[in-house]
Symmetry: C2
Subunit: 213 residues, 2 copies
């Protein structure tokens, strides 16, 4: 029995599959183009092979779905009987071709609603994704790692002022682009709340952006 099936043999699927194979898993790749599945399998070494999707769906217990989101449901639909009880790991994201927006589930944000109502003001989204407890403790780092605070907005001078404020408080400011990116900053806050308050990690947590340079 093959352990790990990779549907989609691009950079994400190819890399994760080869890595898992290097860790000892047996891995099978499938892709829209057979040649790319075979290339991924060769790159992943002797514990990996290429298989048609029908066989992958039948033989693997665990499928990593790394193909573009739009291909996943139509491609897997004919094999739903084989997928019963199997684990499907959705690695995809439903994004537009320019990779700038989600294609479903998202239509606006609180910050954009405020900007729509006050069009002559300069709305910046910031400070919304870190726990109040961090602010109350004036904690700007955890284990020596700076906490990043993100700012999104359409008015550059206004955003620059907020970025200065973030820096003066001691955080690492990150320019998160236009105000529409509040659609990503607001969910980041919800994720933080889920982890800290719902799933029990507590409020001494914070997301930060690690950067190599």
């Amino acid at each position: 029995m093959i352990k790990l099936g990779i549907f989609g043999s691009g950079k994400v699927g190819g890399s994760l599959g080869a890595w898992a194979a290097a860790k000892g898993d047996s891995v099978a790749f499938t892709a829209k183009h057979e040649a790319s599945a075979e290339r991924a399998a060769r790159a992943a070494g002797h514990r990996a092979r290429a298989l048609p999707l029908a066989e992958l769906a039948r033989e693997c217990d665990l499928l990593l779905l790394t193909a573009p989101f739009a291909e996943i449901i139509p491609s897997l639909a004919p094999f739903s009987a084989d997928l019963r009880g199997k684990i499907l790991v959705d690695v995809s994201n439903p994004i537009t071709p320019d990779h700038r927006a989600l294609t479903m589930g998202f239509s606006t944000s609180g910050a954009e609603e405020i900007a729509r109502r006050f069009p002559e003001s300069q709305v910046v989204k910031a400070f919304n994704a870190t726990f109040a407890e961090i602010y109350a403790a004036r904690r700007t780092e955890i284990h020596g790692q700076k906490i990043t605070v993100l700012a999104a907005g359409d008015h550059e001078p206004a955003k620059t002022q907020i970025i200065d404020l973030i820096r003066r408080l001691g955080f690492e400011p990150i320019d998160a682009g236009p105000l529409a990116n509040a659609r990503y900053l607001e969910p980041l806050s919800l994720l933080n709340i889920q982890l800290g308050r719902v799933l029990g990690l507590g409020t001494d947590i914070a997301f930060t952006l690690l950067r190599k340079t």
Copy 2:
């Protein structure tokens, strides 16, 4: 001219306002209950005072909106003329009273659509918010700080298997709760893409969750 107006004097507004005052800013607080604005102002020291919203809107150049989202637009609406040209920093999040979901803009996620179509399979959302380049380089940390990979799903044994895989690859796994939390993991990926590919930070970046303990 007062520099910083804080609308909402709860833990977020009170903490950020006091902190900015300690850094030398003059700060004014307003709140639904005058007493709480006065309490916040006292706690913030001599550079801070409490003001009615009308005066705050008139006198401050920069307003931090830390009140609950639902109160912001109705409260500020009468003062929109005074807010022209001002900076409004939206620190709020449009969330449900139990803090578990966003109240607008979000209705589903790719992972939930897959689960709906394959109800007898066990869908886990994972690996979707880190750049392929990180996987390709088998990089599990940046500057000595482990990268976290989040997994959300409704089937605990399936999620446990994925968490084991994340750990075996060398990342720090985080259980991100039910599959509906893919609504927060998918935007996290978009934020990552915005920062790395659109705003120019490159692909040697990764979000990680810092934890005190």
